[in-house]
């Protein structure tokens, strides 16, 4: 894959990510692999298992989405218990100093490919908590967000809409945040370090 230019840390990533082109080079084994990848994308898109990390208030919208009114199982989506099993990490709200550490830890435990969906404005710029001392305003500095769902809180329709969009992205191979995280690991790490200090904290409570 050609190395796509990444925006600097001062430019939001999410908008450009949706317009990533699938590269089309023709080398036989690779082509074969890509053909296989396309099939795999189909399966990935239609079997999304999610881990909802309820950092904030947006999580309250999820029950509605899961249950009979909107029934996200029809999209093949299911809630999962552990990050190992999950494909999507749902960040439902703002990230604070404490939760971000756990978010990162959880995200890194997920198997690839994996996707991050952020809810509400708090994940974009801190929303109404933007000046709170413990809230980290921009999530995409620390984790590669594949999809934002707008609304404070987003309505269930918006959530469903977002999920549909995510499925499209995955099916077309555009949700590549996890690759980005691997590629620019150092960059993310330095941001994380700057924000929360040590991610894997060692202190008297955790030893």
């Amino acid at each position: 894959m050609p190395k796509k230019e990444r925006p600097s840390r001062f430019h939001p990533v999410s908008h450009t990510m949706q317009t990533v082109e699938v590269p089309t080079e023709k080398i036989s084994p690779q082509e074969q692999a890509e053909a296989w990848e396309k099939i795999a994308h189909y399966f990935r898109a239609n079997s999304l298992w999610m881990l909802n990390y309820c950092t904030g208030c947006c999580a309250i919208e999820l029950p509605l989405v899961m249950t009979s009114q909107y029934d996200m199982e029809r999209l093949g989506m299911m809630p999962m218990a552990t990050p190992r099993q999950a494909d999507i990490l749902l960040v439902t709200g703002y990230a604070s100093l404490k939760t971000l550490r756990r978010l990162i830890y959880t995200y890194e435990q997920m198997g690839t490919p994996k996707y991050v969906v952020a809810f509400g404005p708090c994940a974009v710029n801190g929303g109404i908590y933007h000046d709170a001392y413990a809230v980290l305003n921009r999530l995409d500095l620390y984790l590669p967000v594949d999809l934002y769902i707008a609304g404070c809180m987003p309505k269930p329709e918006a959530v469903m809409n977002g999920f549909k969009r995510l499925i499209e992205l995955i099916e077309s191979g555009q949700a590549t945040g996890w690759k980005d995280y691997e590629r620019r690991f150092d960059w993310y790490k330095s941001n994380q370090l700057e924000a929360v200090g040590e991610v894997y904290i060692h202190d008297e409570f955790h030893e």
């Binding site: 990390y53 904290i201 060692h202 955790h206 030893e207």
Partner: protein, 608 residues
């Protein structure tokens, strides 16, 4: 070369080993190794037609198929275990006597299995007993060796009583002859039958007599526990099988009460064995020490052997014999593994271990094989035997016993997983980070024994054929049948090779899928799901204490049988205290009083 030479040679080698051991302990261990392997070779080459002999009148020997089978089993256990003797730390404790006792007990077991005379059998039986007691004494301090000795002595004396009853009632001490005579003319035959069986049950560790097992296995030196568990307890099966086949309960009990075609007595004994399975399983689930857990698993497995022998059908006896071998091999491996673990880490408590799989992989594999065989899963030998025994239970329709057998079988999965998971799986403790794989000399016997378990599990036909031969020699009308590659059961056939084949095909498919799929990333053991929490203490991040707590709560009130024996011992003590108080007063006047009163009583008693 005949049996006498073999036994005498081993005795002499034992004494020589003592002399050498005083000078150079390592050389003595090598001598035990050489001697026991040589004995194994001789016995193997000699086969069950190895010449017997007559040393003095009493010590006459004759090899029978049954004796050969048992001797081979025990010799194999003994000789593989000699590798562990090599790793005994020599200097701090003077254990020159250990190789001597080891070889003496080995020689005596051969004596037990080939004796033609009950008294000779008993003599060897007792030599095994006290020599092994002393060997247990080399281990941890405690009451284990005494409990072992006391219980075994109880068994031996029951046996002696039975022997003497046979000797006085039938005027013969010949092993087969005496039992046959008892079967011909049942006078005190029932007494003989029960006492003999009880003594065998003590040795096998069947329930009311099992209390010595956990204590002795726990306290025995780690390098002797395999022999004790895998070898010596099988002595009981030998006499039990001879009694049940030459003096079957069906000829003894002319009484009308029968349960499902079996005499009531047999049924009661079967129930006792079934209880043994249940109690062994339940107690094994509860233990915190690996060796004690394995000991209770032996209690349970002995129950299977006993059931197989008591039912007395060709298939069940065959199952009992195969199970005996399977259990001998498997339990030897498990105790050897525990010895290796204890050697490398210094403990056998399960809550102090964990994750050793990553440090001792080969040991783990051997342990896995053995534990699978203990549980009775294919493709191990334990499966073949459990299949045979369950088949016979099903065809007899003994539901109570079958329920216990099933319970034991499924329960064994519980304790097997417990020991596997707490010792080898789970988190590696930081203090064990530097632990290394056991030295090669310890791995040889492990691989040998588990290899035999596996090979016999896949291809058990020769073995089952041999049990048929044993049954022939024991006078069974028909024996277990094998046609081609299938063992013919009463209501089904077993083809172990086919099972292994199906499993192998399944494994290949699984491997194919596994390899085709993307390669996984290897992560550290502590990199697990913690609910987002940061945890760095492997000691705390493991589940090993009070493992089956929900289940244990169900039978927390189960009374322990050892209490009964303790109470008994305390009564003896009380009697002793009373005697000391009454008759051994320090005051002369008390003595004078006793003398005069008792004299008067005697004279009065004479007068009336």
């Amino acid at each position: 070369m005949n049996i006498i030479h073999l036994i005498l040679g081993l005795f002499l080698a034992g004494i020589a080993a003592y002399g050498i051991g005083r000078l150079k302990p390592a050389a003595a261990s090598w001598l035990t190794l050489a001697a026991s392997w040589a004995a194994l070779l001789i016995l193997f080459l000699g086969g069950d037609t190895l010449a017997g002999g007559n040393a003095w009148g009493l010590l006459a020997f004759k090899m029978t198929p049954l004796g050969w089978f048992f001797s081979m089993t025990l010799l194999f256990v003994y000789s593989t275990n000699t590798f562990f003797n090599l790793s005994v730390p020599a200097a701090p404790t003077r254990q020159a006597a250990y190789p001597m006792l080891y070889l003496i007990s080995l020689a005596s077991t051969i004596g037990v299995f080939s004796a033609e005379n009950w008294l000779a059998l008993f003599i060897f039986w007792e030599i095994v007993l006290w020599s092994s007691t002393f060997m247990i004494g080399f281990g941890k301090p405690g009451r284990g060796s005494i409990i072992y000795f006391g219980m075994s002595l109880l068994g031996s004396f029951m046996m002696l009583f039975a022997i003497l009853v046979m000797g006085t009632a039938y005027q013969t001490f010949e092993v087969k002859g005496a039992l046959m005579a008892a079967a011909q003319s049942p006078g005190p035959a029932l007494l003989v039958f029960l006492l003999m069986l009880f003594s065998a049950m003590v040795k096998l560790g069947i329930t009311p007599f099992h209390i010595w097992m956990p204590e002795a296995y726990h306290e025995a030196p780690d390098h002797f526990a395999p022999v004790l568990a895998g070898g010596l307890s099988k002595l009981g099966a030998f006499t039990a099988l001879m009694v049940t086949s030459f003096l079957p309960a069906s000829t003894l009990m002319a009484q009308p009460w029968q349960v499902r075609g079996l005499p009531l007595l047999t049924y009661i004994l079967l129930t006792v064995s079934a209880v043994s399975i249940v109690i062994g399983t339940l107690m094994a689930i509860k233990q915190e020490d690996a060796k004690k857990l394995l000991a209770y698993s032996s209690v349970a497995n002995s129950g299977y052997i006993m059931i197989g022998m008591l039912m007395g059908t060709p298939m069940s006896v065959s199952g009992a014999l195969v199970h005996l071998l399977a259990h001998a091999l498997a339990t030897t491996v498990t105790f050897m593994v525990m010895a290796a673990v204890a050697r490398q880490t210094g403990t056998t408590r399960m809550d102090e271990l964990g994750g050793l799989l990553h440090r001792m992989p080969i040991t783990f594999l051997a342990f896995l094989t053995a534990i699978l065989s203990l549980v009775g899963l294919p493709p191990m030998l334990g499966f073949v035997s459990k299949w045979l025994i369950l088949q016979s239970l099903a065809s007899q329709g003994l539901f109570l016993v079958a329920a216990a057998a099933i319970f034991g079988s499924i329960g064994s999965l519980l304790y097997a997983f417990r020991i596997l998971s707490t010792v080898f799986l789970g988190q590696l403790k930081p203090k064990h980070r530097q632990v290394r794989e056991a030295p090669a000399v310890l791995l040889i016997p492990l691989l040998l024994l588990s290899g035999v378990t596996l090979v016999l599990g896949i291809y058990p036909y020769g073995l089952v054929q041999y049990t048929a031969k044993i049954e022939n020699s024991l006078g069974f009308a028909d024996t277990v049948q094998i046609t081609g590659l299938s063992i013919q059961g009463n209501n089904g056939n077993l083809n172990a090779l086919l099972i292994m084949g199906a499993f192998a095909i399944g494994f290949l498919i699984a491997l194919g899928i596994f390899l085709k799929a993307p390669k996984s990333r290897k992560v550290d053991l502590m990199d697990t799901y913690t609910g987002g929490e940061f945890i760095y203490s492997p000691e705390l991040y493991s589940y090993s204490t009070n493992f089956f707590a929900p289940l244990e709560r169900v039978y927390a009130g189960l009374p322990e049988i050892s209490r009964l024996y303790e109470a008994l011992a305390n009564r003896v003590r009380d009697l002793g205290t009373l005697v000391q108080y009454l008759f051994f007063s320090p005051l002369p006047s008390r003595t004078a009083l006793l003398i005069s009163v008792v004299t008067i009583l005697l004279i009065w008693g004479e007068a009336i």
